[in-house]
Symmetry: C2
Subunit: 232 residues, 2 copies
């Protein structure tokens, strides 16, 4: 874990949803300082207290607005539903300058959530990069996880594919994957996020075929020691 105070603080925007709550729980447990952000700060405070309870009070976790959370942290993780994606990003554009955004958003278009339907930018992560500008590093990750498993500290049988605007940003994100107890892989440039976001629709389709909720993917054929790293 990076011990620089600013990098070891994570804001989880939209952190009252199940994705954000599960990730915040894992990172708080790993020793990161967490700010849960929400349009409704009272709800964010309640979520922070709930996670603190799960960790017997042994964590730093606070609930506040999305803007204040983004101001407080060096890494900002976006876990809002897709319809709130653009508005939330525009709202935190200023405090995000010079920082890292980890976009967890999947641009599902109900009712056909088993069909890949990307926005004109090519993917939600590329849309985020277009909104935030070149002074913000953007990665995308964690879209394929069954988030219920995160909160219960179960081993998660799903790898995390990380794409991003720079190798440095992917490396930083791979550290967060490891801190959450997951296996991550450098999946290349941000243009590849379409694969990882779209894979969620494929997994939903496989879940529906099987009556399951836990379809995931594992990378095979590679020594495990290569995971959670990136090299030129």
């Amino acid at each position: 874990m990076n011990t620089s105070p600013i990098l070891s603080t994570i804001a989880v925007l939209g952190g009252t949803g199940k994705e954000g709550k599960g990730l915040a729980f894992r990172w708080a447990k790993a020793g990161y300082r967490i700010f849960i952000g929400s349009r409704n700060p009272e709800k964010a405070k309640a979520t922070a207290l709930e996670i603190l309870g799960l960790l017997d009070g042994k964590a730093f976790i606070e609930g506040t607005t999305n803007i204040k959370a983004a101001q407080a942290a060096g890494i900002v993780v976006l876990t809002v539903p897709y319809p709130a994606h653009r508005e939330t990003l525009e709202c935190v554009r200023e405090p995000l300058q010079g920082k890292l955004l980890v976009d967890v958003t999947v641009p599902l278009v109900p009712p056909k959530v088993t069909r890949v339907q990307m926005p004109p930018s090519g993917s939600a992560a590329q849309e985020a990069y277009a909104i935030l500008g070149k002074n913000v590093q953007v990665t995308s990750a964690f879209q394929n996880i069954s988030f219920e498993q995160l909160l219960h500290a179960e081993p998660v049988e799903c790898d995390v594919l990380v794409t991003g605007t720079s190798q440095e940003a992917r490396m930083e994100t791979l550290k967060l994957v490891l801190a959450a107890g997951l296996t991550g892989w450098d999946a290349g440039p941000i243009e590849n996020s379409v694969v990882v976001e779209g894979l969620t629709s494929v997994l939903i389709n496989i879940n529906r075929q099987s009556g399951s909720k836990n379809a995931g993917i594992k990378i095979t054929g590679i020594p495990k020691r290569i995971a959670n790293t990136t090299v030129e």
Copy 2:
């Protein structure tokens, strides 16, 4: 295996390349009648003889032109490099009417083969469907396999995601996956092919990180008995 004579005959266009050769070997071994197609029929005949040799002469496999192969078979599998994709499809448009095309093509754009770069139609498979018209069913499959492993009858640690223009076409393709000794999953409509084609760039990126050649994916969290099937 389907025992109808027309459905149990497979044409492998561009079948002299390593992808086509590996698949033709597996299907010939499983009892399908195989026509290897190539722009160069002499090369196709040599490949047919090579595969026949690997199977001690116990198979039906012939080499011919792409057009004659497409005329002879009920299922046509396309394994040409992407630059030959459109030309080959236009060449076999007529004999393909009323049949099933299984597109194995990955639209890699050298030198940046680790970056997902799809054609304007959204994916190679959607491009094929646009060229062939609505009387041809199109599926996409087998893009993520290390084809060297197919020829050596090794167990392949990579699942096959099948997308396609109808459930019936995906079901027929899942039978071919099973016949090749592989595990397949119904990955949804043809619009999802961008995920499966693009995953190849992600796997190439992971291979480069690790100095490996065999990165693949496995679907997790689902009972194995659900594989190679599709349900409404």
